[in-house]
Symmetry: C2
Subunit: 236 residues, 2 copies
Amino acid sequence: MKIAQYASKNRMLVAVDCIIFGFDGTELKLLLIKRGFEPEKGRWSLMGGLMKRDETIDHAASRVLKELTGLENVYMEQLCTFGEVERDPVDRTLSVLYSSLIDINRYTQQINQDYHAEWFPLKKLPSLIFDHRDMVTLAQQKLRYKAAFHPIVFELLPEKFTLPQLQHLYEGIFDTLMDKRNFSRKVLSTGLLVKQKDKERTSSKRGAFYYKLDKRKYQTKFNAFLNFIPNPDSLR
Amino acid sequence: MKIAQYASKNRMLVAVDCIIFGFDGTELKLLLIKRGFEPEKGRWSLMGGLMKRDETIDHAASRVLKELTGLENVYMEQLCTFGEVERDPVDRTLSVLYSSLIDINRYTQQINQDYHAEWFPLKKLPSLIFDHRDMVTLAQQKLRYKAAFHPIVFELLPEKFTLPQLQHLYEGIFDTLMDKRNFSRKVLSTGLLVKQKDKERTSSKRGAFYYKLDKRKYQTKFNAFLNFIPNPDSLR
DNA sequence: GATTTAAATGTCGTGCAGACAATTTATCAA
DNA sequence: TTGATAAATTGTCTGCACGACATTTAAATC
């Protein structure tokens, strides 16, 4: 058999699937979409679509995300490629998984109106199609891993946020509770936060000061470690 | 246009490429192969091959590695998928990159005889085809990252090894020098090493005691952190 | 002005990390 | 036999980061 024949016989479809994490100030959430076509029409799914021959994988991921949610210019990262033989019952399809972190409040109205996407608490996900549940599990592990050493959590927060909010976010990601005093000491010692003069007043009587991220330091210190590891064994 | 047409138009070839790290007691090395077919025939390349429709990606990676080097049952890990449009000049081809760690002395003769593969010091690599140079750079970063937190370096060592060897390995991976006293204190404190009664005598007059890895503890403690980070900023 | 709720702040003890030097073991040569 | 050599082995001290832990302060509500 010639090489060309061999090759064409082994061509495959490649999909991209996007996991989108959001944080509403209390809870970690995932954005899912109701599948609009067969097979598995009507069930919940990650944002996915087929990659085209004339685009890069990263481009396909951005395009799919834009088409299905309207989201643009968000934090995106390639995680892993899934390739079990029977993962897609219709056709032989690989899937390259991407993970996104977004500020939930910035987009949630837009997403709900224009697209049939919905936020689900990470702890109360509906049943998902194909191997999407495995993808979520893996993405969650990778988020933990990365958040333990890099300040990526700020991608999930609005421009202004409070220390209690930040702590709740870490507690959500690591599914644990932290000590307020030790937490603020550690997070402030990074020098990444700039205290504001105004307060957030809805969730407490006293009100909590807002902070902003020092974006210059965020860039330069991204690879410095924060060591926010409540339990090292939980990381992969 | 029908979905089926759309789909078939966008089918692609998928390759797997394997990066194989080895350690000879002094230096980190990479196993390369001389490409035996056009295009780029005669130039150096990673171990690569096309994936088949009826196998998983992991299977393809193991198969390719076996076919090209005879290696089996070695540490392998999927790193990332490359998909620049023009990365392969002949056909639209994605490449899923894998990284392997092996004990160089265990296989090196066999590899040299039966296959046209050769070890190169990581610091003196020849020019590589396609985007393989980028792949190596990425794999090296990932190796650093992982070695900083997990005891994977033992995959690169023979069953019996000395502390100086282990230290040289870390120094090679992180491209730095470490203090002997602090190093042995830290590495022994993990409890992963078992001191042997015999010594290695070729590389010094006094001789250095052999150690073995406690494989049971290696399994259970794999996700515990060693914190061998000479310079956090060098990690990705 | 008393009560309530959550934010903000400080101390102490332990353990690990990094800087640093002297001793021991075995080989080799005179 | 002895002395020189080369590398492995071992120990101390200091400072800092971490974890455990309780009280005070600010603002709203009644």
